[in-house]
Symmetry: none
Subunit: 217 residues, 4 copies
């Protein structure tokens, strides 16, 4: 079962058709014009829907686009087990790169984060929709690694997640809009050595990394 599912039963949405059309139009326009320039007016027109229908179901633009964002994140962003922590992280980075470069998701997310600076409610929803699932995904990757005794269990998986998310985010939104091979490599390395600890008694593992335990807080 997906981490991001099970959210659709909020209200008795009467017109499933209109609902879908609005989300589609919103994603479209955000892709073409950017979050800020995608007006409710245009979205309504493009969806062939009255403005009121939008305002009926979403309290504000942010709420609408949070649902749009949710729809853009594919279920399979939670990756299969590749057998190694590095492999899992690389697979995730590939999927994030695709999500933010080939869909309007990056643009939308930037707009949402900007809006979240001022309004409290969008901020909360954004944390629930974006931060929490992201931490869940990355957390489970580390759990898997710990389960296969590749590393010890992290005592703050949220931090690891934020480190990765922040780096990706920074690179994509302020850089060249792509995650090059080198960047991905460095990021995986930095995470492996910066936040992960080798398991205590791990003969073979000790050789491969030789990192010791005391002092790293």
């Amino acid at each position: 079962m997906s981490v991001l599912s099970g959210v659709s039963s909020e209200k008795p949405r009467r017109s499933a058709h209109s609902h879908a059309a609005v989300l589609r139009a919103a994603a479209d326009l955000a892709g073409r014009l950017g979050y800020a320039n995608a007006s409710i007016e245009q979205i309504a027109a493009e969806a062939g829907v009255g403005k009121q229908t939008i305002y009926r179901w979403w309290p504000n633009k942010a709420a609408l686009f949070i649902e749009v964002y949710r729809g853009l994140v594919p279920a399979d962003i939670v990756t299969d087990d590749t057998g190694s922590l590095a492999g899992d992280l690389e697979a995730l980075l590939a999927r994030l790169s695709h999500l933010y470069c080939d869909t309007p998701a990056g643009n939308i997310l930037a707009g949402l984060i900007a809006e979240a600076q001022t309004a409290a409610e969008p901020a909360d929803q954004l944390r629930r929709t974006y931060v929490a699932p992201r931490r869940a995904i990355i957390g489970s990757i580390f759990e898997r690694a710990a389960a296969r005794r590749e590393i010890e269990a992290l005592d703050d998986p949220g931090f690891a997640s934020d480190l990765i998310s922040g780096a990706v985010w920074f690179r994509l939104l302020l850089g060249r809009r792509q995650l090059d091979r080198r960047f991905k490599k460095r990021l995986v390395d930095a995470v492996l050595q910066g936040v992960a600890r080798k398991p205590a008694r791990a003969a073979s593992a000790l050789q491969s990394r030789g990192r010791d335990r005391k002092g790293a807080r």
Copy 2:
């Protein structure tokens, strides 16, 4: 001399007073209402300035706020040498925390990044005003550490900078709006172990901090 200064000689600004008043009003309004809700109209009114005066000197809202942002970053964000890499990073984090939590800088930056997703020119200016100076600062911190032979010189200081900036950014804009002690500690640790390498023969460096290092890659 500051890394971020020396940019003011663009045009023969007739009214230095008006210029300052606009920047002050813009910072004020962004602080109170957020970047998106601070309209040129209000800024002009609050500054006691004609709208045209704003449009004369800045091509668009983003350009104005980039200058506002620049003005909010204090010269002393480039810290003195504390004698250790960890110390320097901690000092920087403290200053960033202050900048983004106690001034409208975070709010403005979020708005600018959102705008940069759509428009090319603000994106460029933003990279020049924000990304580049930030990399310069962090780069110089690592250079200092290499000079005192605490670490080897990094072969990609930009990556280290982005890793730190991204993490801070993520935490501040999507989290609790503060960098708690634990987070700062973890981030410094992760950077030290994740991107820095000990110098080949590192006798003196070991002394400079009680932290032991043997075997870190």
Copy 3:
């Protein structure tokens, strides 16, 4: 039996209760907000009725309010014989004054007339509901006067009616919203001398009136 009654057998109205509630709510709202500001939406809400129920029984707002108007005109607006033309006219004016000043009828009528300028169907209905009955009433007053040989029969009673109705209308809708004693006096006088002719051999009639310049009423 009233001149304006006997119109209710159009359809098998299922819910007499709803029907009445709608008319009541409409009259109420028109009184409080004016014809134009009384929306079908509010009327439905205030009547505790679905909008469809209103649209089912009345083709448009004008039709609804024509029925409301009809309901506001009391049966006894057709006055008893006071014995003289002047007396009958004065009695009518008193009733009209009450109707237009103490009920929303004036407000509604103004709205209906405005609407009738554009739409043909409301115009027709308005003539049937308002102009025709008014002419009938005033016509019968003059007939009564002719029958008692106070005046000769008018050859255009419609004109006399319009003259009176117009004057009342003008005064009420554009003036001080009341018919003062002096106005009523002058109007009756003007009608008596302006449209009525004394009967050819009118000995008795002259007595029955004894009205001349000085001391009328």
Copy 4:
């Protein structure tokens, strides 16, 4: 000097062109669709003007249309002296008939009167723009007649005016939208006999008119 002139110097209207275009478009649309259906939105569009420009200069639709109405009333509605009261009144009726049948003035006036039932301010303005000038015109006709000793001076010229205006109004707005020859004749007769009094020693006056009881109509 015209009774209805001297009103244009209210504010420093910046764009005389826009001002005229709005009035023209409003008159046009009211003529085509009626007062109620002429929306500010359409007027702005047809005039090639921003909506705000309309709201800037007129507080509401009624105020705008009062100015439109004022512009539709021709200066020469104040007629030359025809030499007799009957002639003057007939000339006025002819002009009113034209005004209300061949221009949107009637439609607009109906809308304004309806609106005046609810709002106080439009009601006042309407009295100033419509009722007062009308009374002035008709009053001066009667004054002229008194001056040439055709009748005695009226002690309530306002009543005479309202009687005429009301009759015309009623006929035009609720009838066949024209003032036929017969109606005009009857109205002039009724006014002459109903509100005007022959002068006490009226030898000359009788000559000047040659009109007496027999033969009228």
